[in-house]
Amino acid sequence: MLPDFVSVNPETKEEALAFLDSIGDARVIAGGTDLLVNMKRGESCRNVVDIMNVEGLNRLSVNDGEIVIGSTVTHAAISTITILNDMARSLSAACGLIGSPQIRNMGTVGGNLVNASPAADSISPLLIHDAILSIESKDETREETLENFIIAPYETSLKPCELLTSVCIKALPGYREGYRRTAKRAAWAISRLSVAWAILEDEGRFVDVKLAIGSCTPMPFRPRSVEEFLRGRTKVDPTIGEAVVMVTEEIRKITGDRPSFAYKLPVVSDLVQKALRG
């Protein structure tokens, strides 16, 4: 059973920020597909600010190759809007794999980021698009990269009075882009491992490679040294093989060896290899 709690439903951003500022211990609901589950499990939460009706937060705008996604844009919207399909294929693919249709209709990109699960599907694609988050409070507006925003599993730099209002990403024209994940069943499953990639090639060379790996380390991450290694190199199997080994080494460097790696490292190797080969 859900515990008793008080909920407010602001309609403007200013109203929402004022509530967050004055209540102090309020939790934000942006879909509720994580928060309500946790509350049902006993997580204490007395005050809830529901931002689903806040005007403007569910807007998506495209300007000069820059895409601004409001924090209450749902996974369903991201996975079906044509323009995102074209400009951020990995993100729309990832959001189309989240949960079930019901969860995709409720869950939002903002909620996914603030929950900061190591297995959140939207994070890896947003990382390869160098996402920058807009964070607002009653007195201040700040920007932060997604990489810095998540500081630990289920932990972000967001202060109790702050609200994540939008995510800004750049399109990657000319890049071959994608997202693959593995899960225990065909749908409605938490991702067991995921890889997002955007690769720019020219005449058999890697010009720029962006990789992100999810559900493997405490936070989804970009193996920067591997990206750097591949820059400018010829696309041949030995190079790809070396890159794949570097990815697994980088994962081990972050977490040490884990029992789950018996499964995850072979999978990540195969998926990265496949992504690089194209």
């Binding site: 059973m1 593995t182 225990k184 069943r185 065909a186 749908a187 409605w188 018996a262 072979p266 999978v267």
Partner: protein, 714 residues
């Protein structure tokens, strides 16, 4: 013709419109809510129970312990060894200790969290292989619940003379039924001094008997009614909420509602038995299987539930639908402090089908023969003798089911190197094993000119209501408007046995058919078939007792020999062949089932839509059994971490119906409920082998296991 048609289920319009009131939806004004306080220890003495804080909590009415039970604090379908409420000792995590009654659900659950128990832990037995020799006894008479044998021919000689021998070990794990509706019900005292229980159940008369013993009240004073039930699969055969509700009504004289949460259901409901199967097969060069030796070790948890049934049924079915001259099966079921395992669709046979069908493929591959040909060569036919030396005279359709899929098997082509095809065959004895398991049915003519059918057969979603009505219609030549079905009430119906063992179409159907024959003769004598209406017949009958006709059917079986299992434990068997196509993603180890060709010998299909529905449902469950479902004690709490297939995991299914009529069945019908599931996991595992070259010996073959098998082979 009313049978063999595309008739809609009679409950379909109501269910589509959301009208039926399921047990979970039931509420009674002024009812108390009851919840169960459960053990958090796998094995411990109870030293002290402190309910003082709970009893001081707002809205609390009462707590009930084993000392509040007026009758016998014990239940069980065969061996009665399970207490309703733990006395002195708990034997598994989740064992009921107290019933907590509150004015509301919230009050009851809150109070229940305030109960404190002091335990003294006892050594925990978590492995059936340790259980047998352990000095810690879960029950006084020892930790071996049951040891059954099947012995036929000379197994040692046969292995000596065999050209090839294949020997492997197969394991399966706990599965939850995961029915849509959790265990729920209500109870109240009626104005005649009886206690009425309405619940989500598969067997009303059994529960009536158990409650009568629990409360030391005669059976006539206990009325059990089946509410519309959201699935059973064997998990609602044991007493779940019913005993607690009855006890609560007894003490409070007030209506009481109970409803397990999903978490509670996962924790407390019986599971599919994990079996450890050592399987040795001997064959000649031409593919004839000459010897099968099987050792089965099972974990039944701390209470018998259906452990003995599974132990015996698994042994009897261990050879699969093949004629094997030399057989030795040893099947043992041990008590442990793991979750209680009980009845679940197939009673151990799906586990054994996984083993014997894997063996068939391995034998074929070793002999470089087509596994289809090896199956057909060894398949049972009319005149064959089963592992229990029962000679099959009628309705042996296994070869026909193989022939239905043969064209697809011969034409199969692997689209690429990650697709593959596999076969799975099965046979399954319909009804309970080697014991009398009759059903009654009662027909009477009502004042408003209808024929009322009273049956105790529980409709749990499998379609028995529709099938029984169709049988009645066919036998009497009546339109649906002329029939009233009154089902699932111990006061108005006689015992039909439980909705389990794929038995209701065959056995309750047989009872309805028997009653209908008598009714038909009566109606004929009274001129119904010459134009008189039922209403007129009713009005003209002076002795209203003559308007009633009872039907009875008990399948002809013999008990099996306790040492060799020789005998005819079932009057009839169902047969099936599934051919499955899978696609395996080598990078991730995920397997998708693409297509299933499912051929079933059902004797006679009473309702084609129901037959197809049962088969599709069985396949879905088989996909879960093969690829993902795994109850891990202490970890699997809810659907969050117990993965079962969704519609996206469901393959295309093509159904082929074989009708090799069973002479003792109503219009030739047998059963289908469990057979639909049994061969599916086996066919998936064989298809994975075809696709990847690796064989899974442990189920579920989930992504991590499959990836490891693929990596190990590299």
């Amino acid at each position: 013709m009313y049978i063999g048609n595309e008739i809609n289920r009679i409950d379909a319009p109501d269910k589509v419109l959301g009208r039926p009131v399921y047990a979970e939806d039931l509420s009674i004004k002024g009812a108390l809510f009851g919840c169960v306080f459960r053990s958090t220890r796998p094995h411990a003495w109870i030293r002290k129970i402190d309910t003082s804080a709970a009893l001081a909590s707002p809205g609390i009415v009462k707590t009930l312990s084993c000392y509040d039970i007026p009758g016998e604090n014990i239940f069980g379908i065969i061996k009665k060894d399970q207490p309703y409420l733990a006395k002195d000792r708990v034997r598994y995590i989740g064992e009921p200790v107290l019933v907590v009654l509150g004015e509301t659900e919230e009050a009851a659950r809150k109070a229940s969290r305030l109960i404190r128990v002091e335990y003294d832990d006892i050594g925990v037995i978590s492995d059936p292989f340790i259980s047998g020799d352990s000095k810690t006894l879960i029950h006084e008479k020892g930790n071996l619940l049951s040891h059954r044998k099947v012995i036929k021919g000379d197994i040692e000689k046969a292995f000596r003379e065999a050209d090839v021998i294949v020997e492997h070990t197969y394991t399966t794990t706990w599965l939850d039924h995961a029915f849509m509706e959790t265990e729920s019900g209500v109870g109240y005292p009626d104005n005649k001094g009886s206690i009425v229980i309405i619940s989500s159940t598969q067997n009303i008369h059994y529960k009536q008997k158990e409650i009568s013993k629990l409360l030391a009240i005669p059976e006539e004073k206990i009325k059990v009614i089946q509410a519309t039930t959201g699935g059973g699969f064997g998990g609602k055969l044991d007493v779940t909420v019913e005993g607690f509700i009855a006890l609560s009504v007894y003490h409070t004289k007030r209506p009481v509602v109970m409803r397990f949460t999903r978490e509670e259901s996962f924790l407390s409901n019986t599971k599919r038995h994990p079996l450890y199967i050592e399987y040795k097969t001997g064959a000649r060069k031409d593919g004839a299987i000459t010897a099968v030796k099987v050792n089965i070790t099972g974990d039944t948890g701390p209470f018998a539930s259906y452990g003995e049934t599974v132990c015996l049924r698994a042994a009897i079915h261990a050879t699969g639908p093949y004629e094997i001259p030399n057989v030795r099966v040893d099947s043992r079921m041990f008590y442990t402090n793991n979750p209680v395992s009980g009845a679940m669709r197939g009673f151990g046979v799906p586990q054994l089908a996984f083993a014997h069908e894997s063996q068939m493929d391995e034998i074929a591959s070793m002999l470089r023969l087509d596994s289809f040909d090896v199956r057909i060569k060894n398949a049972l036919r009319k005149g064959s003798s089963t592992a229990t030396s029962q000679v099959l005279r009628n309705s042996v359709g296994i070869i026909e089911t193989l022939k239905k899929v043969e064209p697809y098997w011969r034409r199969r082509t692997r689209k690429n190197d990650h697709t593959g095809f596999g076969l799975g065959c099965m046979y399954y004895g319909i009804g309970n094993t080697g014991v009398s398991n009759p059903a009654n049915a009662c027909l009477n003519i009502t004042g408003d000119g209808k024929i009322a059918l009273h049956t105790g057969a529980c409709e749990i979603g499998q379609g028995s209501d529709t099938v029984l009505v169709q049988i009645l219609q066919e036998a009497l030549g009546l339109k649906i408007e002329d029939i009233v079905l009154i089902r699932g009430d111990t006061e108005t119906s006689k015992d039909a046995g439980s909705s389990s063992a794929s038995r209701q179409t065959y056995i309750s159907g047989g009872a309805v058919f028997d009653a209908a024959k008598k009714m038909r003769q009566y109606l004929d004598e009274k001129g119904f078939y010459k134009g008189r209406t039922i209403r007129e017949i009713y009005a003209s009958e002076a002795d209203k007792k003559l308007l009633e006709h009872n039907g009875f059917f008990d399948p002809p079986t013999t008990p099996v020999d306790p040492e060799t299992s020789k005998g005819s434990p079932y009057a009839t068997y169902a047969f099936a062949t599934h051919m499955t196509e899978v696609e395996v993603e080598r990078e991730t180890g995920s397997c998708r089932v693409k297509k299933v060709y499912a051929a079933h010998d059902v004797g006679r299909a009473i309702n084609l839509k129901n037959v197809r529905g049962q088969i599709c449902g069985g396949i879905a469950m088989g996909v879960g059994f093969a690829l993902m479902e795994e109850f891990v004690p202490g970890k699997s709490e809810s659907f969050d971490n117990y993965y079962m297939p969704t519609s996206m995991d469901m393959p295309d299914v093509e159904v082929f119906i074989v009708e090799d009529c069973e002479p003792t069945g109503p219009f030739g019908a047998k059963g289908l409920g469990e057979p639909a599931l049994i061969p599916q996991a086996a066919s998936i595992v064989n298809a994975i082998k075809d696709a990847t070259g690796v064989r899974a010996f442990d189920l579920p073959c989930h992504i991590e296991r499959l990836k490891k098998l693929i990596e190990d082979k590299k």
